[in-house]
Amino acid sequence: MELIPKLPVAEWISDATDWLTDTFEFLFDFVKNDFGDFIEFFAESLLMQIPIWLFIAVVAVLAFFVSKKRIGLPVFVIFGLWFIQNQELWEELMNTFTLVIFASLISVIIGVPFGIWMAKNKVVETLLTPVLDFMQTMPAFVYLIPAVAFFSIGMVPGVFASVIFATPPTVRFTNLGIRQVSHELIEASDAFGTTGAQKLFKVQLPMAKKTIMAGINQTVMLALSMVVIASMIGAKGLGQTVITGLQRADVGTGFVAGLGIVILAIIIDRFTQNLNTQRGDQS
C-alpha cells in the first residue's frame, strides 16, 4: 500500500479543466455572453411580458387538447398557476421554466443523435454505456464546479450542469428504441432497398418514437430536478427562493417555492406523457 504514493488525480482533473478554460476561452465567453443574453431575453422580454391571465389561459387550453379533451389537467393548470402567481412567484416560475426548457432542448438535440449513433454502432454502444452510467451516478453537485470554471455564475452554467445531468436518458432510450425494432421489419426495410437514412427516418425512428419520448420525459424531469442545485451557482428561479428559505431557516418560504416546482413538474410531465401517442397503436 505504502509503495504507491497518493495519485494526483484531483490535480490532473484540475489541470485539464484549467487547460480547457484557457484554450477555449473565446468559445466559453461567447456562450456565456451571447447565449446568456438570449436566455435572459427569452425569460424577461418574452415570457414575462405575456399577461399572466393570458399565459394561464393558453396553457389551460393546450392542456385540454393535449389530454384528449379531458378536464382534469386544465383545471389543475389553472389552479396551480394561479397559486404560484398568488404567492408572487411568477417571475421565478418563468426563470425556472426557461432553465428547464433550454436544458431539455439542448439535451435532446445532443442526446438523440448520440442515441442513434449508439444504436447503429456496437463499439460506440460499448464505449458510451459506462460514460452514461458515470454521468448519472456522479453527484449532480460536482457538475457545478466545471460549470463555474467555464461560464462563471448565472443561468448559463446552470443550463450546462443540467444538460450533463439530464442527457443520459434521452441517449439511452433512443438507443433502446431503435434496437427494439424487430429484426423482421429491418429485413423488410432492407429488402425494399432502403438506404441507411431511409431506414432510419421511415422505419427505425417512427417505431422508436414512443420509447424516445419516454426518455425525453425523463430528461425533462431530471432537468427540473437540477433547478435547486443550479440556483446555488446563480441560476435564477424558484430554486433560488428555496435556497433563500434554507439560508434564513424560513420553512414557509422554502416550502411554497418547492410546491411551485412540484406544480411545474406535474404540468410538464403530463404534457410530455400525453404527447406520446404513436400512430397505429391498438388501444
Binding site: E184, L185, E187, A188, D190, A191, F192, G193, T194, T195, Q198, K202, V203, P206, M207, K209, Q278, R279, G280, D281, Q282
Partner: protein, 400 residues
C-alpha cells in the same frame, strides 16, 4: 435465360468459416461440420435455376435452410461461397448502390410474420417500396391503391395493420410486394402463419393472380401439401442441401432418395392427413336469425340435401334436411328448432384420416369438423376417398 440462377451457393454461420468451408467442399455433412468446427451450415452448395413466370417452391423441414437460402437470393445474408445471378448479373460482386437498385426494381419479398410497419396505414405500407424509390406521392398512391384492390383490400386503405386479421395483413404484405411490379417475388413461408382455411384461400388467390401476372415466384414452405398445390417445380431441402428438384409428379412418383420417399409416403398413406386437411368451408344457417325458408333457399342454391345449424358464434346445434324443411315451409313452421336433428357425426380437427374413414361409412350427412365446440368445416365422402387415393388435387380437399 433463367431469371434467377443460383450456383453452388453456401452459407456457413459462425466464426472461422474458412475451415468449415473446406470441410464442406470435402463433402462432410452439417452435423459433422458442427461437431468439428462449431459452425452451423445454413445452406450447403445449392444450385438451381428459376425460369421466367414459374412458381419455384423450396420445401423442407424447419431448420433445413430455406429462409437462409431465400435471403441469400436478395443478399440480406452474405454468402460464404457461390453466386446468385438475377437476370444474368451477379449479386455478390455488386456495390451497395447497385444492390439497392436490384432490390427496389427486381426483387420483392413477402414475410412469414408479414413484416408490416405498424405505424403506417395499409396504403402507406403498400406504398413503401415506391416511396423508397423516390416516386412522387400521387403516382405511388395510385399504384399502391391498385395493388391493394388486386388483393381485395381496396376498402381498407386507411386502417392500420393491427386492425386487420392475419389473412388480411398478409394480403397487405403481398400488395406491398406487388406494388413495385418486381420481376421476382420471394415468399418466405408467406402463408404458414395463417389458419388452414385462410391459407387455402390465399393459395387459391395467389394461383389466380399468377394466371394474369406471370411473375417469377420463389416460394418457401415447410408444408408438402402447399408445395404440391402451387409449385410448378419443387426443390426439396435437407440439412442445407437440395436433395431433389422436380415437378410435383416427378417428386411423388420418382422420389430421388429415402428422405424424399419418406416425405411422399406420408402423403400416400395419408396418416399425416387430418380432418383439417380435407375439410371445406361449411354452409350453415343461423338458428337465431334464419327460418326454414332461408335454409331451403340456401340448400337449393348450393345443391345440398342437408345443412348445418349454428349460432352467430358458430356453436353447432344440429342440422336440418331438405325434406324436413320443405315440409316445414308448407306447414308454416317458423322455427328451425322444431325440425332440428341433433345426431351429428362430429370429429375434432386433429382427427386422422384413418378414423374419419370409419365414420364416414355410417353417415348420410357430411361430418362436422369441430374446434373448441365450434364448427370449423365439413368433410364430404368424396374428399376422404379422393385423399386416400393419394391424388394431388384431392389432398387439398375438393372445391365444389
Amino acid at each position: 435465360m433463367p431469371v434467377v440462377q443460383v450456383k453452388n451457393l453456401s452459407k456457413i454461420f459462425g466464426k472461422n468459416s474458412k475451415k468449415a468451408t473446406r470441410l464442406l467442399d470435402e463433402g462432410l455433412s452439417k452435423d459433422e461440420i458442427l461437431k468439428k468446427t462449431g459452425n452451423t451450415v445454413g445452406v450447403n452448395r445449392a444450385s438451381f435455376d428459376v425460369e421466367e413466370g414459374e412458381i419455384f417452391v423450396i420445401m423442407g423441414l424447419s431448420g433445413s435452410g430455406k429462409s437462409t437460402l431465400v435471403r441469400l437470393v436478395n443478399r440480406l445474408i452474405e454468402p460464404t461461397e457461390g453466386s446468385v445471378l438475377i437476370d444474368g448479373k451477379d449479386l455478390a460482386t455488386m456495390d451497395s448502390k447497385s444492390l439497392r437498385e436490384v432490390r427496389r426494381e427486381k426483387l420483392s419479398m413477402v414475410f412469414q410474420r408479414f413484416g408490416l410497419f405498424p405505424h403506417r396505414t395499409v396504403l402507406e405500407n403498400a406504398e413503401f417500396g415506391l416511396e423508397v424509390q423516390g416516386m412522387d406521392k400521387e403516382e405511388r398512391k395510385k399504384k399502391a391503391q391498385k395493388s391493394l384492390e388486386l388483393v381485395g383490400l381496396g376498402d381498407y386503405v386507411n386502417q392500420y395493420p393491427g386492425q386487420l386479421s392475419g389473412g388480411m395483413q398478409q394480403r397487405v404484405g403481398l400488395a406491398r410486394a406487388l406494388a413495385n411490379d418486381p420481376e421476382v417475388l420471394l415468399m418466405d413461408e408467406a402463408f404458414s402463419a395463417l389458419d388452414p382455411l385462410i391459407r387455402k384461400e390465399m393459395q387459391d388467390e395467389l394461383l389466380e393472380l399468377q394466371e394474369s401476372m406471370k411473375k417469377t415466384i420463389l416460394f418457401i414452405t415447410h408444408d408438402l401439401d402447399e408445395a404440391l398445390r402451387i409449385g410448378d417445380r419443387i426443390a426439396l431441402m435437407k440439412d442445407g442441401r437440395i436433395v431433389q428438384i422436380g415437378t410435383p409428379e416427378e417428386i411423388l412418383v420418382n422420389p430421388a432418395n429415402d428422405y424424399v420417399e419418406k416425405f411422399v409416403q406420408d402423403v400416400d398413406r395419408s396418416k399425416v392427413l387430418t380432418a383439417e386437411n380435407i375439410m371445406k368451408r361449411p354452409e350453415t344457417v343461423d338458428i337465431e336469425k334464419h327460418g326454414p325458408r332461408t335454409a331451403l333457399e340456401r340448400m337449393r342454391k348450393e345443391g345440398l340435401s342437408s345443412i348445418y345449424v349454428t349460432d352467430a358464434k358458430r356453436r353447432l346445434y344440429g342440422y336440418v334436411t331438405a325434406d324436413d324443411v320443405s315440409e316445414a315451409t308448407k306447414e308454416e313452421v317458423k322455427d328451425l328448432k322444431d325440425i332440428l336433428r341433433t345426431e351429428v357425426p362430429k370429429v375434432d380437427k386433429t382427427t386422422s384420416m384413418h378414423e374419419i374413414f370409419n365414420i364416414i361409412h355410417d353417415t348420410a350427412v357430411p361430418i362436422a369438423v369441430m374446434e373448441d365446440e365450434k364448427l370449423v368445416g365439413i368433410i364430404v365422402r368424396g374428399a376422404v376417398i379422393a385423399a386416400l387415393a393419394g391424388n394431388e388435387v384431392n389432398i387439398n380437399g375438393i372445391d365444389s
